[in-house]
Structure formats: structure tokens, C-alpha cells
Amino acid sequence: MDINLNDLLRRYRSHPFEDYFVETPHTGVVFFKVKEGQAVKGPGGEWLHRPGTLLYVIERERNVKRMTALWSGQISGIRLDIEGQFVEAGEPLFSIRHQLDKEEIIDRILTQVLYIFSAPQRARYFLTPEISARMEKQFKQGVSVELGEDVLIMSLMKRDTMISYEGVPGSLYKVYFNSGDMVEQGSPLLGICSPDKLQYVQKVIHRIRTEWEK
């Protein structure tokens, strides 16, 4: 948990991108359908049912597979030398440089800084009444949780189970679910921040929100 926030911030400021490397899923002959520097779009639509931009086709045993972008961003480092060549599986083709926006950066910082308490199984979750009451009364970030304290109610098949908190004691910083929603196993439920970092984290996030352009 020892992360230097300043370093993190500096890194994101100088390089607010995430590079996704595109590799061939299997052997085959590759034909590129994009150019260096071209902007591509990821899947769209309400259910992400509209495929993204066509990146390349790979042909194996006369099966022409059209591969589309899974992220939006810019094409960089395209390896035109292998155009029309037979390549092995896992051959890097190019990378998609995805520009991170403010919320994405905040999310990334938070997941690194916070202690994430994730769902033990697929169920509906509620905050315990005590925690909700405290959250209403006090400022959200000020609600502290202790080890072994009952924080959540897991409801499945009309059976409510209390879940006690295990992990780093600290303040409840972020609640990742809506009360009563079905949450998949392993999805984040709560983000807890240790008290010594709390103020600092708040400041950093405030700064990102207000000062950064994008």
C-alpha cells in the first residue's frame, strides 16, 4: 500500500494514455486495414453490440477473420513489414493509444490507493443501516470502518447474511454498487482509504478534477 501519490500523478500527467497492444490471436496471413496515427473507435451501442473499427483481417485455412477494435484510440507502431505475411500467434501488430479522461485517471489512482473490498458471491448487497445512517449524518468520506464490523448485508434468495469487514481499517471512500443491485462475484463493493492518506487523496483528486484540462 506504499504508493507515492506524487509519482503517480506525475506519471499520468506526462503520459495520460493507456497503450493496448494488439496481437494476433492465432497464426495466419495478416492484412492491415488501418494506417499509422489513425483514430479508431471501440465497440458502441447500449449493449456494446456495434463492433468497433475494422483493424485488420487475418486469414487461416481460408477463414477470413475480421478483427475490430476493442478500445478507442490512435494506432501507433504499426508493423507494415508483416503486411500480407504469415505470422505466428501472439505476434504484436500495433498498439492502440487510448487517451485517458479525468474520470478514468481518478479511477485508476483510486484502485491503486484504496483497499478494495469485493463481493464474495453473486448476490444483492445493501449497506447495513448503521453505516447508512452514519453516512447520511457525517460527511461521506469520514465514515470509518473497523475490522470485524458488520458493513454489508448480502441478500440472496430472501436470506440476509451480515458481512463483516476484513482488511485495512480506514474510512469508507467509495461505494461501487447501488443499494439492492445484483453484483457479480469479485466485483468491487467498497473502496477503503487508510486514515493517514485520506486527506491527501482527497486533495489530489480535487486537483485532477479542477485543474486538468481533459
Binding site: H26, G45, E46, H49, R60, E61, R62, N63, K65
Partner: protein, 759 residues
């Protein structure tokens, strides 16, 4: 009040009337360029604004001038109305709606199942109403149930008369109420189409259920069509007599929809007006066309430019015609001679003004026998729809042979199942009962003796012997099943990717494997790749058991739709078949059944007149031979739009056929494969009590694009999947293609039960 003030008030009224007339003309023409009507409207608006500034004489002069011009334009427009303009008339906000009819045609009414916005579906209005007539200065009133679409007089929540599935369900509920109370039903159809959503009870399902019930609803039903939009119209349209306003339209698809399909217009692009007008003309949607084709029974005259909301003479005529139509239905069941006299008299009056008095009062209640007759007439009417609009071999000799064959088989099966079978069953029952009782009695006597005997002389237990026949020993159990039929799709040396590869990590499939050994099923995730219909013919039924009938009935181009004949010929040549349906007798492990199979290669498996006729005849064959009926839907794209309303009426026609077959005790099973959409699903397929889907099939009312365009909402990609259809209760199960035969056999055995014909 001074005279000129009255004049002023009058001129205001006159001007607003003129404005209405001009905007009505703009509605009809679809633009304000025709004859400078836009300018004319501007002039009227200016006059209205400066009403008190202009000198009175000048004002009236101006009004007269404009009125002359408007009347002239109206006459010109009325002279030749194009079908597209008729569509505009029907959709004009000034056209009368159901509420106007309820107010003006009926004496009093009580809305049922909700009122206004507080309603399960405001697009469908149901009311108990009284309608009255004068006979020799005495007033008689009748009770009727009025069911219809309300387009809304500017009310958003009416949804433009697009009934949601639960709206049609409400209609059905009150049809049943009318049946219980024994009062006639008057339907008013004002719908551009049904609202294409699958939420329970499901658009297609509900229409199918309505049709199924209407086939045997024991009350006289009359319908009036103003805007008959395909499936939505059928949901409350399968009545004994169908009337239509002379400026209404009745169509298989909206002209916009037809234009989008015909012109291959992409989503979001604007439709060229020319194309739209062309399609409207090709679809033969006007009242005259429909009367000529026999899809409606009578036209009710409207003014040249259509009846509007304050057209009281039209409402009077409508009341008279509705009364008359109901009288006819009732009289027909009572006494044919009386009916004929009545009909002749009415025919002489045709075209004359609406009389003040009726000359006799006809009660609308029916006896049981008359109800039966009513249903008989209705059945006959619908079964005959579209006759003569398909090609049948007219050779007298072959026809004679066919007729003799049909007669012979009918007689044979009537004797076998109608006479001998019940007798045989009764004898068997008696024997069973007697022997059952006898054995109980005997056992009581012999039990102690036998027990004592067994105790004294215990029998040694013998090992059971496996019975072997004379066949060679090492024969594979698949020997008989091993069919050499291999799909031609398997002849390609390449691999394909399963569409679920990203989700389930399916490996690429080698095509000869996939279409050969795997029967087109991904071995990893079970996705079914489409296979040609011949595969089913070969693999689903016992070897050499398929015997096709009625293959000679061929589709033709009854409306003279441009370009359709050529496409039809191309498909006939390409597939070697005359229509998109194959009807045949076949066996599934010894169980003989009649099968109707819609396949995709012929015009996308759409249903036209020939297909409907073949389906009805298949029902008839199944009924005569007492066999179960299977409708296997390889694929269907709906009703064939090129055959217009003749195609639409195949919906009630086939449903009536199925209903008759079911009521005779038949077992009707539907199995959907690949894609099944629209009309057929909303009628003769959806009405089946037992429906199944093959895995990876898609079933629904309208495709995603149509849903997007009508509701403005996108649907998930798996909206129409068989799994979701199962969740909504549309189908009863999902079958794997590889186990189709076994499942079908099981279904026939379990659903059929001992009382089925084939037992």
C-alpha cells in the same frame, strides 16, 4: 348586437374553416407547393390577423376569392387521388376517429377496461354501446360491443392507434365477454400497425391468439376499416363482414416500409417521394382494389376527399351500414330465403340515400343451431379467400383424378376412423373392464392355493435369456440410421469461426466436419449454423417416407407488382419449386404425419396466396387422414408484400384452417428454425398450442430495424433469440438439431396421447 359585428364574427369563423380546408389539402398533398396552397394559407392567416382593419366589403370579397380558389383546388385534388394521397388522408389529424364514431353513430356508450389515459392500453378502446333504428316511427335499440383502435385526437398517449400486446389482449377479453352475453361485436380498425414489442403477451402471440379465438367466436362480428395496417388490423379484423371506408387504406405493410425494402434504403436515409408513391400504387391498398381482390366485402361511401370529424351525413351512413351488415349476418343464419329477399331488396337500394326508417326490426340474438351456422359461414368465407390468385393445373383429367383420389381417401378414412375405430375402442374398453374385474375375482380365489403350491414346490430361478434374432452379430446400431446425405455446404475446404468464439472460446471449425459429422452444430458452445432445408427432409423423417402433395400449386403475381414476376420465375428456376412451402406426408419412426415446411430459399420463406392455400389444404389432409400436423419453419420472413392484402388475409385463413383441424381433434406442432418473423408467427404458427424452437433460432414479430424505427428504441442483440422466446412463454422448449427426430417423436407420443388419430 349590430349587423356588422355578426358579420365580423362570421368572417372569423369562415376564415378558420378555410384555414382548416387548406391545411387539409396540404396534408393530402404532403407539401404546400401544389397550386400555391402555402401562399393561400398565408393570405388567410394575414386576413385573420388584420380582421378589424380591413373594410368589410373588401374582406368578404377576399374570402369569396380564396374560397373559390380552395374549392377549385379541392375538386382538382379529388379528381385523381393517388394511393399515396389516400394514405395521407387517412393519417390526417382532421380524419374521424373511433371516439367520433362512438359519439355520433351510437346512442350511448360506456367505455370498458379503462378510460382515456387511465387504461391498460389507450390505443385500444372497448365500449358497450347501444345503436338504434327507427321502424315505423318506433325506436328499437340494440346492445353491441364496440372494439377498435383510437388514433387519438392529438393525444400522445394513444400511440397513434398502435396497439400494444396487452391492448390486443384486452380486446380479446371483451370479445369473450360479448360471446358470454351473446351480443354482436363491431370492430373499428384505425391502426398503422401493431406495436412491435415482444413483452408478454407478445405482439405476434397475441394477434395469433385473437385470430384463433375469432375463428370460433359465437357472435356476429362486423368490422370497419379506415386504416388497416397489416397484422395490427388482423388482430381485431377477422369478422364475418368487412366494411371499408372509400377513402381508407388496407395494406400488408406501410408504403414507407415497402419502399425501404424495395429500394433497399439504408436505415436513417430519407425515402425518395417518387419511390414511396410508386410502392403505394403497387401495393393496391385502396378500397376499390381490396373489394376487387375480395379481401373486403363492401365499401362505405365517403365524401371525395374523405370524411372528417364533423361529417355527420357520413356518420349516419355508417350507422345504417353497420346495422345492415349485422342484420345480414344474423339473417343468413336464420333462414336463407328470408336473407335472400332481404339482400335483393338492399341491392336495389345500393347507391341511394340512407333511408329514415328500416322496414323491419331484426333481433340479433341467436340460437345454438344458428350460432353453428354463423361459424360455418365465417369459416367458409375465410377459407375461400384468395382463391383464384394462385396457379393450379387446370387440366380436367388430372383434376378429375385428384378429386377422385381425395374423395376415395376421405371415404376410406371416414370409415376407418369414423365408423370402425370408435366401435373397436368400445369393444376393447368392455373387454378390458370385464377381464380386469374377472381377474381380480379369480385372483382372490386362486391366491391361497397358488401360495401354498409355491411354498411346497419352489420354482428354481432361471437366468433370463437374451433373445437374439438371426441377424449377424457385429452389426452397428447405427447401420440403419447411417444416412449418406451430406450437406453440400460441407464440400468446401476451409474453416469458419463460431459467432460465440469470443464468449466461449470456441475453436475454428473445419467446414466438412461442421456440416458433416457435427450436423452444423458447434461442438463447444452448441451454436447451430444454418443448414439447408433438404437436410431436414433427409434426416428428420424415415427413409423414403416423404410423399409430397400439392406441389403443382404455384405462386403468381396477382397484383401485377412491377418486377415481382421476374423474381418469382428466378426463384422457381433456382429452387425447382413453385412456392415457399412444401407439404408432404412423412413418417417419424413409424408415426405417420402431415408436414408443412416453409423454407428460406424461395423469396425468403414468405407467405403468399399459394402458400396459404397449400397450408390450408395440408390441414385438410391431416384432418381427413387423422394424422398429426407438423409445421416446420425452416425460415419465414413474414407475409409476402408483393401480394398485398391477399397475403395478409392468409393470416386469418390459415388460422381458421388450423382451428378447424384442432377442433376436429388433431395435434398441431410448430417447430421454428433459423428466423421466423411477422405475419405467419402472428397467426397460424403462433396460435399453435405446442411450439418449439431449434437452438440458435430467432423468433419474433418485427426485426430489430423495424422496432428501432417504430419505437425509437434499440433492442438487445439477443432480443429475438429462442432462449428469450422461451422465457416469454412463446415456445415450450428448445430442441437440439441433432436430437430433433427423437424430440419430435417424444412430443408426438406424449402430447398426442391415446386419443390421437395416429394411435
Amino acid at each position: 348586437m349590430r349587423i356588422d359585428q355578426i358579420h365580423m364574427a362570421d368572417s372569423g369563423r369562415l376564415l378558420s374553416q378555410l384555414a382548416d380546408r387548406i391545411s387539409y389539402l396540404i396534408d393530402i398533398k404532403g407539401n404546400s407547393e401544389y397550386g400555391n396552397i402555402g401562399d393561400l394559407l398565408g393570405q388567410v392567416q394575414r386576413l385573420r390577423q388584420s380582421l378589424f382593419e380591413i373594410k368589410e366589403s373588401n374582406l368578404f370579397e377576399e374570402i369569396d376569392r380564396i374560397e373559390d380558389r380552395v374549392s377549385f383546388l379541392e375538386d382538382r385534388v379529388a379528381e385523381k387521388l393517388s394511393p399515396a394521397e389516400i394514405v395521407n388522408i387517412v393519417r390526417s389529424p382532421q380524419r374521424f376517429t373511433l371516439m367520433d364514431i362512438l359519439e355520433n353513430v351510437y346512442d350511448s356508450y360506456t367505455e370498458l377496461g379503462g378510460e382515456g389515459e387511465c387504461n391498460i392500453d389507450p390505443a385500444i378502446v372497448v365500449a358497450r354501446a347501444t345503436i338504434s333504428r327507427r321502424v315505423k316511427n318506433k325506436l328499437y335499440s340494440h346492445q353491441v360491443m364496440v372494439i377498435g383502435h383510437e388514433k387519438g385526437q392529438g393525444e400522445e398517449y394513444r400511440n397513434g392507434g398502435c396497439a400494444r400486446p396487452w391492448g390486443n389482449n384486452k380486446a380479446l377479453k371483451y370479445m369473450r365477454v360479448a360471446e358470454t352475453e351473446g351480443i354482436p361485436i363491431h370492430f373499428y380498425i384505425f391502426t398503422p400497425g401493431s406495436y412491435p414489442i415482444e413483452d408478454y403477451p407478445g405482439a405476434a402471440q397475441q394477434i395469433a391468439r385473437n385470430l384463433y379465438v375469432m375463428a370460433k367466436l359465437k357472435v356476429p362480428m362486423v368490422s370497419f376499416i379506415s386504416e388497416g395496417g397489416s397484422g395490427g388490423a388482423e388482430a381485431i379484423g377477422a369478422s364475418g363482414l368487412r366494411l371499408m371506408g372509400s377513402r381508407g387504406y388496407y395494406s400488408v405493410i406501410s408504403p414507407e416500409g415497402a419502399a425501404a425494402i424495395e429500394g433497399k434504403i439504408r436505415e436513417g436515409e430519407k425515402l425518395p417521394r417518387k419511390l414511396l408513391e410508386h410502392c403505394a400504387a403497387q401495393l393496391k391498398i385502396t378500397a376499390e382494389d381490396n373489394l376487387r381482390l375480395g379481401t373486403i366485402d363492401r365499401i362505405i361511401g365517403e365524401p371525395p376527399l374523405g370524411a372528417r370529424r364533423d361529417d355527420f351525413p357520413f356518420f349516419r351512413r355508417l350507422r345504417y351500414e353497420m346495422l345492415r351488415a349485422t342484420d345480414e349476418l344474423v339473417l343468413k343464419t336464420k333462414n336463407f330465403r328470408a336473407f335472400r329477399a332481404y339482400a335483393l331488396k338492399r341491392q336495389a337500394e345500393e347507391g341511394k340515400d340512407v333511408p329514415e326508417d328500416f322496414d323491419l326490426f331484426i333481433g340479433w340474438s341467436l340460437t345454438d343451431l344458428e350460432r353453428e351456422r354463423l361459424l360455418e359461414f365465417r369459416f367458409k368465407k375465410y377459407i375461400e379467400l384468395g382463391k383464384g390468385y394462385f396457379i393450379e393445373n387446370k387440366n380436367i383429367l388430372t383434376q378429375g383424378i385428384r378429386k377422385t383420389k381425395v374423395f376415395a381417401s376421405k371415404t376410406y378414412y371416414d370409415i376407418r376412423y369414423g365408423l370402425l375405430r370408435p366401435h373397436h375402442r368400445n369393444v376393447q374398453k368392455v373387454i378390458e373392464e370385464v377381464s380386469g374385474e374377472g381377474s381380480v375375482f379369480l385372483r382372490k380365489v386362486t391366491e391361497p392355493v397358488r401360495a401354498a403350491y409355491d411354498f411346497v414346490f419352489p420354482q428354481p430361478e432361471r437366468p433370463s435369456k437374451v433373445i437374439r434374432s438371426g441377424e449377424p452379430e457385429r452389426k452397428s446400431i447405427f447401420a440403419e440410421e447411417w444416412d449418406p446425405y451430406v450437406s453440400p455446404l460441407a464440400n468446401e475446404d476451409c474453416t469458419v469461426t463460431c459467432p460465440n468464439a469470443a464468449k466461449y472460446g470456441c475453436l475454428d471449425l473445419w467446414v466438412p466436419d461442421l456440416y458433416g459429422e457435427f450436423c452444423g452444430v458447434c461442438p463447444n458452445c452448441g451454436h447451430h449454423f444454418p443448414l439447408e432445408y433438404q437436410w431436414y427432409l433427409e434426416n428428420l423423417f424415415d427413409k423414403n417416407s416423404v410423399r409430397e402433395f400439392n406441389a403443382h400449386i404455384a405462386s403468381c403475381n396477382p397484383l401485377g407488382f412491377q418486377g415481382y414476376s421476374a423474381r418469382l420465375q428466378k426463384d422457381i428456376k433456382h429452387t425447382g419449386r413453385n412456392s415457399s412451402i412444401i407439404t408432404f406426408e412423412a413418417e417419424v419412426w413409424g408415426i405417420r404425419l402431415v408436414v408443412a415446411m416453409l423454407f428460406s430459399n424461395f423469396r425468403g420463406g414468405t407467405v403468399g396466396v399459394a402458400e396459404g392455400e397449400k397450408f390450408v389444404r395440408a390441414c385438410d389432409v391431416a384432418s381427413t387422414t387423422r394424422r398429426p400436423l407438423l409445421a416446420y419453419i425452416h425460415s419465414t420472413g413474414g407475409i409476402r408484400i408483393h401480394e398485398g392484402t391477399l397475403g395478409v388475409v392468409q393470416m386469418p385463413k390459415c388460422t381458421f384452417g388450423v382451428r378447424e383441424y384442432n377442433d376436429n381433434g388433431g395435434l398441431y406442432i410448430v417447430v421454428y428454425d433459423n428466423n421466423s418473423y411477422a405475419g405467419p408467427v402472428a397467426s397460424f404458427l403462433g396460435c399453435s398450442l405446442y411450439q418449439f424452437g431449434i437452438r440458435s433460432s430467432r423468433i419474433g414479430f418485427a426485426g430489430p430495424r423495424v422496432i428501432r424505427e417504430t419505437t425509437g428504441q434499440d433492442v438487445p442483440t439477443d432480443y429475438h433469440s429462442a432462449k428469450n422466446a422461451l422465457k416469454r412463454g412463446h415456445i415450450q422448449g428448445i430442441w437440439d438439431r441433432r436430437e430433433f427426430k427423437k424430440n419430435l417423436y417424444d412430443a408426438l407420443m406424449t402430447l398426442g396421447g391415446p386419443n390421437l388419430y395416429y394411435k
